[in-house]
């Protein structure tokens, strides 16, 4: 599991998730995202699931938790690129009625408009 967090000039935050999101990995992913939210107070946060290979309800909890935090201070959560099995789990949660679901290559859009690259790209628990 690895996570890369990008911030663009409009102070929007893109979280590129990859690998497996389960209970074991979720705590560390959550911590990284929450630190990025706390330090930057982004107006919009995009969670990109393009490279996520597995997710169970721990992933739903992760998304719901970030949704609550962001709603509290008026920021918007976007959930991006949920396909196949990830989409199937996500649909069960009803999150599609709360967060905004989007598709597309967010990473290149962000990279062309970067404010800074947070150097917390890191591999978590390479098993």
């Amino acid at each position: 599991m690895s996570i890369e967090i990008l911030l663009d000039r409009k102070n929007r935050c893109l979280v590129m998730l990859s690998g497996e999101i389960d209970h074991h990995n979720a705590a560390r992913i959550r911590m990284k995202i929450d630190v990025a939210i706390d330090t930057n107070c982004p107006s919009e946060v995009f969670l990109d699931f393009s490279n996520v290979t597995f997710m169970d309800s721990s992933g739903i909890g992760l998304v719901m938790g970030r949704y609550r935090i962001l709603r509290e201070y008026g920021a918007t959560l976007y959930v991006a690129n949920c396909k196949g099995a990830i989409r199937k789990v996500m649909q069960l949660s009803g999150m599609n009625r709360l967060a905004k679901f989007v598709e597309g290559d967010l990473q290149s859009r962000f990279v062309s408009n970067l404010k800074e690259v947070k150097k917390n790209e890191q591999t978590i628990s390479a098993q």
Partner: protein, 153 residues
């Protein structure tokens, strides 16, 4: 239920460490792969197993490390039978626990959807639990037979 013959069987047990969530998924997908399941069937099974094992670790053995047991069987007609159990704290009210969005740990970012996932990704789900004794989850799923591949079953 009528008696069904067991074509193959995997028994495993491991300590309730969160590292073993991915191990349980690997075990079940490796074992079930001999039936050449469709990718989405395999991922449904892996997800359901992940939910049940995580529940043993997160809830059953909340304040301790105990043993999680997983039994996987291949029955007639490519039916997969999975039993996952713990000897942890048990569930006081199973019916309530199985309600969508119910969780006893909302402060830990739990969605309360584990049982909902198991129920909708598998054909059958049964949960037996005794307060103070532990919890046993049984699930079944029939794989779509892919013509020619498992003709001898």
């Amino acid at each position: 239920m009528s008696r069904q013959s067991v074509h193959n069987e995997l028994r495993s047990s491991f300590p309730s460490l969160s590292e073993n969530e991915s191990l349980a998924r690997l075990l079940v997908s490796g074992f079930v792969s001999q039936l050449n399941p469709a990718l989405d069937e395999l991922s449904d099974i892996k997800t359901a197993v992940s939910e049940a094992v995580t529940n043993c670790i997160v809830h059953g053995y909340r304040n301790c490390v105990g043993t999680v047991r997983m039994l996987v069987r291949i029955l007639d007609d490519n039916e997969i039978y999975i039993r996952i159990s713990d000897s942890g704290c048990g569930i006081e009210n199973v019916e309530k626990a199985m309600e969508p969005l119910f969780t006893s740990a909302p402060d830990e970012d739990r969605a309360g959807l584990g049982f909902t996932v198991m129920e909708s990704f598998m054909d059958k789900l049964s949960v037996k639990s005794k307060s103070g004794k532990g919890t046993t989850v049984t699930m079944r799923k029939k794989l779509e037979t892919r013509k020619g591949k498992n003709a001898n079953r």
